[in-house]
């Protein structure tokens, strides 16, 4: 009996302990919540006092209406599929999208891209230099000088003022021949002068590409003397953004916390920015899991792969407090023709050299069907690649081509007659992209309707973006380019048709106008080369716009490519938890205004 009692007692104790453990495990979520609340209350208290202080001045000068106030404190968790390979945006791997997305919390540069207007706005400098404001001067010797005036209040997180020396150090680091950093336009800088709050540099020739230089500035006092390539992959130098780096749990998350020395205030409320105490970027590579984590409110903000199924799933959460932004992005898909002889390795009957064959393709491909079927009609078909990232400057140069199967058949007949070949189309793109696979399936019916012999030859992206693109071994191809806002973005994109720059040294994968590789060079391609050269040698806005228009018309009139549609970008936020969120469809992404985010539930 005694043994039985002891045994029951032990069992009871075990059950009690087990219950306690389960309760501890269960309650940890509540504890978390409690902890957060507690932290929030504490942290809110301090900034709230600051707020009162900072808002006292306006109170004395303005009306009796209480100014709009945002709460301080709390945390936002951003879910992302990708993890940054490095935190150093300058070295290889730093060009990954996610590096920039996280970087916007702690790195500021000369400009930022406005998510509402897609225009460039000054960030570290008082105004963006232009010819009109005297910040850009074309010198008599054909060189061009650009001058930045750094904001007086701009400081690093340790309070050190951001100076011209930091700009100079950034330039020197980029130009260090021993460092694996992309130099591009920086190579054209022939002289520079650094002042306490100014920085001036001279480019060998006028170019509008100066607009996108110095997107991030390095702190000389923190980096000088370190091994730049090796020392800054897993940690960050002092911040000049709204947050500062706190920790990186590899494979899991990056956490940034408030930079108390951030200089910016919210123009709407007059409050010191940022509002949040911290932001954690949580990496969840599987898209299904990312959506489930969002549904379970384990993350507050996501920018998932924007396929229509995902968008519909997220939109179904809107009644529960989620907000989903679906925008047309700067990544534009396009059909393109290979002009070099290498295309015959893919299709011996390729007739891309004949305009009528290209016209037949343009008259066959129904872009509206593509956008309806692939993107559920969420975007309009592109009539110009310019639409994708600088819509106000677009001429819709491809609107001259409309779908007409009868006309396509006629154009095709003309091509057959002119070339003496049984012309056909072989379509190549990446086989591991669902949208593109669907596109290839839709093309089968479209080309059949026009009576044009057609086959699909899809390839894995590693092969397609590797050998195929390098060697020009495709007939009709399809992939996407990324555009950047501003005139510089437009001028930059024209490089892809530079007849003087085929791979491996250039990016003209189409080989249009590249005579050396068997591709024809004609009056149009020669004129285009001139237009491009002129574009790269002027900063006069009027002149540039005229050249951009002419260049676009040449590409459209000669059907070098056919723009199809801009990819969707989407982001979702729990509006009842995080306020101030606005998605930016450009490379600036969903964290472009992170300093304005605030908790709506405190």
């Amino acid at each position: 009996m005694n043994t039985l009692w002891r045994s029951r007692k032990v069992t009871f104790m075990v059950l009690l302990i087990a219950f306690a453990l389960v309760a501890a495990a269960c309650s940890s979520a509540n504890d978390d919540a409690g902890g957060t609340e507690e932290t929030t209350t504490t942290t809110t208290a301090a900034p709230a006092e600051e707020t009162t202080t900072t808002t006292k001045a306006p109170e004395t000068t303005t009306t009796t209406e209480a100014p709009l106030q945002r709460p301080y404190g709390g945390e936002a968790i951003v879910g992302d599929a990708q993890e940054p390979p490095t935190l150093n945006g300058f070295v290889p791997g730093g060009d990954n999208f996610i590096v920039g997305i996280i970087g916007q919390t702690y790195a500021a540069g000369v400009y930022e891209i406005d998510g509402y207007t897609l225009e460039l706005l000054p960030e570290l400098v008082t105004e963006l230099p232009t010819v009109a404001n005297g910040g850009v001067v074309v010198n008599d010797d054909g060189t061009m000088t650009v001058k930045y005036t750094i904001r007086d209040e701009a400081v690093w997180e340790d309070g050190t003022p951001i100076s011209g020396d930091d700009f100079q150090f950034t330039l020197d680091t980029i130009m260090d021949p021993d460092l694996p950093i992309g130099k591009s336009t920086y190579e054209d800088i022939i002289d520079s002068v650094a002042g306490p709050k100014t920085f001036e540099y001279t480019l060998a020739q006028p170019t509008v590409l100066y607009e996108l230089l110095f997107g991030e500035i390095l702190p000389k006092h923190a980096i000088e003397g370190t091994a730049f390539e090796a020392d800054w992959n897993e940690t960050r130098w002092v911040s000049n953004g709204p947050f500062k780096f706190e920790s990186w749990a590899k494979g899991e998350s990056v956490t940034v916390v408030r930079n108390d020395n951030y200089w910016k205030t919210d123009p709407e409320t007059g409050q010191q920015l940022p509002y949040l105490d911290s932001i954690t970027f949580k990496f969840i590579p599987e898209s299904e899991s990312l959506i489930t984590a969002f549904k379970a409110r384990e993350v507050d903000v996501i920018q998932p792969d924007p396929n229509t199924e995902v968008i519909e799933t997220l939109q179904a959460l809107e009644p529960d407090g989620a907000r989903v932004e679906v925008l047309s992005g700067p990544v534009w898909e396009h059909l393109n023709f290979q002009f070099s002889d290498a295309r015959f390795e893919m299709n011996a009957n390729s007739c891309n050299e004949d305009y009528n064959m290209r016209l037949a393709v343009a008259q066959t491909v129904d872009k509206r069907v593509l956008t309806d079927e692939i993107l559920a009609g969420q975007v309009e078909p592109l009539e110009s690649f310019v639409d994708a990232f600088s819509p106000t400057l677009s001429q819709e140069a491809w609107a001259q081509y409309s779908v007409d199967n009868g006309a396509a058949a006629e154009s095709y007949a003309k091509a057959v007659e002119a070339t003496g070949k049984e012309c056909s189309v072989t379509f190549s793109t990446t086989s591991n992209n669902d949208a593109r696979v669907k596109m290839s399936e839709l093309f089968v019916g479209m080309f059949e309707a026009s009576g044009i012999p057609y086959t699909n030859e899809l390839q894995d992206s590693s092969l397609f973006f590797g050998e195929t693109l390098d060697n020009g071994q495709w007939d009709l191809g399809e992939w996407a380019w990324v555009g950047s806002p501003g005139l510089s973005g437009l001028v930059g994109i024209f490089d892809i048709w530079d007849p003087e720059a085929p791979p491996p040294d250039g990016g003209n994968y189409y080989r249009w106008g590249v005579e050396a590789e068997g591709a024809y060079s004609d009056e149009a391609s020669a004129r285009f080369a001139e237009v491009r050269d002129e574009m790269n040698a002027t900063v006069d806005e009027g002149e540039l716009l005229a050249l951009i228009n002419e260049g676009e018309n040449i590409i459209a009139d000669n059907l070098v490519i056919i723009p199809l549609y801009a990819r969707l970008v989407t982001a979702a936020v729990w509006d009842d938890e995080v306020g101030g969120f606005k998605h930016n469809p450009t490379q600036a992404g969903h964290t472009w205004n992170v300093e304005f985010w605030y908790r709506t539930d405190i």
Binding site: S28, F283, A296
Partner: protein, 383 residues
């Protein structure tokens, strides 16, 4: 015994060499390169050229391979912090000599395995060693650091899953064998086939939806997390909080992996146990009037465990490489996820490093399994 181990190690080295040649060749032949993502930026061509030269990607494949191999086996840093490693290794060597020379029993393998495991553990705890596995092409830094920064998470998940699978799977298999064709046996068989035939992706996502999403909605309590290894505030939590948080994150991915292994162990254990239970010596033991429990545990189980040893050893080896799919689904920061990311970005140094770590694991664990065979079955001799 010693000759056997030496011979197996030589075979293992040849296998690893062949593995490295095959994988390196396949990586090269699969098309695409680590700099392809830069190609679509028209301004990056000079940069691509610079990196191509710097990383030796312009060299012939055989030269790239020999450079990689030479670096892979080169010690970059080696420091012995105290005398313990030397004492441990010398002590183990002396003990090995004495055991081989004078003991020579069926337990020789056990002794040697135990002695060398302890010696290597003590030695590795007190030395710093790094090999020159190169730099990640994706800017993620030193490959040695990168790989070993992920092993802790992988071991945490892998050993938990293995423990669950062993603790449940083996007794389940034994019970099914003892109660052959009973309702429980049939149920176990159906369950095992279901677990086997369901893709791990479905199991993982299903667990996330039911256990992490809907369970919280139904109960109002957050019991499990969809993804990650720890919550953002983990470092500031109390010990109890940390344990609870770890359990909340670890349970679902561990169950996902364990379900499949568990089904495998149960099936193997059942089959193996049935074979032993129907053997003559067991019949003799029963005829002698030995208690059923003694017959099953002492006489049947030991022999029935032998096939499981191989299975578990290989599982441990593969575990080192991480559970690629599970780690991706649950956002678990392990080697498997690193591996899949490296393949996607054609990051040769990282892919090769992980493949070789898995290869080494398989070679070593196979050897360990063979030695354990000898321990469990005295009839096994190493010639």
């Amino acid at each position: 015994m010693l000759a056997y181990i030496t011979r197996r190690l030589v075979y293992g080295l040849v296998t690893l060499l062949a593995l490295s040649v095959i994988v390196f060749t396949l990586l090269q032949a699969s098309g695409g390169g680590p700099l392809d993502r830069l190609k679509l930026n028209p301004r990056m061509q000079p940069f691509i050229q610079q990196l191509t030269e710097q990383w030796g990607l312009d060299q012939p494949v055989w030269k790239q391979y020999t450079t990689w191999l030479k670096n892979y086996v080169s010690v970059q840093e080696f420091a012995v912090h105290n005398a313990i490693p030397i004492i441990a290794i010398v002590g183990a060597a002396v003990a090995t000599f004495l055991i081989v020379k004078f003991v020579r029993s069926q337990w020789t393998g056990t002794y040697l395995l135990g002695i060398w495991s302890v010696a290597l553990y003590l030695a590795l705890r007190n030395v710093t060693i790094r090999f020159n596995w190169g730099i990640s092409f994706q800017g993620a830094g030193d490959v040695w650091d990168l790989v070993f920064s992920r092993t802790g998470a992988t071991f945490r998940l892998g050993f938990t899953a293995l423990a669950i699978a062993l603790i449940i799977g083996i007794p389940l298999g034994i019970y099914q064998a003892i109660r052959q064709y009973s309702f429980f046996d049939q149920l176990g068989t159906i369950g095992a086939f279901l677990a086997f035939s369901t893709p791990i992706f479905i199991i993982g996502v299903g667990l996330q939806i039911v256990m992490a999403l809907y369970l919280e909605r139904w109960t109002g309590v957050k019991l499990f997390y969809v993804a990650g290894m720890n919550s953002p505030g983990y470092p500031d939590m109390s010990i109890v909080g940390k344990i609870a948080d770890t359990a909340q994150h670890l349970t679902l991915p561990a169950i996902s992996i364990a379900l499949i292994s568990l089904a495998g162990y149960a099936r193997f254990q059942r089959a193996s146990m049935l074979e032993v239970l129907h053997s003559d010596y067991l019949r003799t033991a029963k005829a002698k009037g030995l208690p059923r429990r003694k017959v099953v545990i002492k006489h049947a189980l030991r022999n029935a465990m032998i096939p499981i040893v191989t299975l578990v050893s290989l599982d441990v080896a593969f575990m080192i490489g991480g559970a690629i799919i599970t780690e991706s689904i649950f956002g678990w920061p392990g080697v498997g996820r690193l591996y899949i990311t490296a393949i996607g970005t054609v990051d040769y140094p990282v892919v090769m490093a992980i493949v070789m770590v898995i290869g080494i694991g398989i070679v070593v664990m196979n050897l360990v399994a063979d030695i354990l065979y000898g321990v469990m079955d005295p009839r096994v001799r190493y010639d």
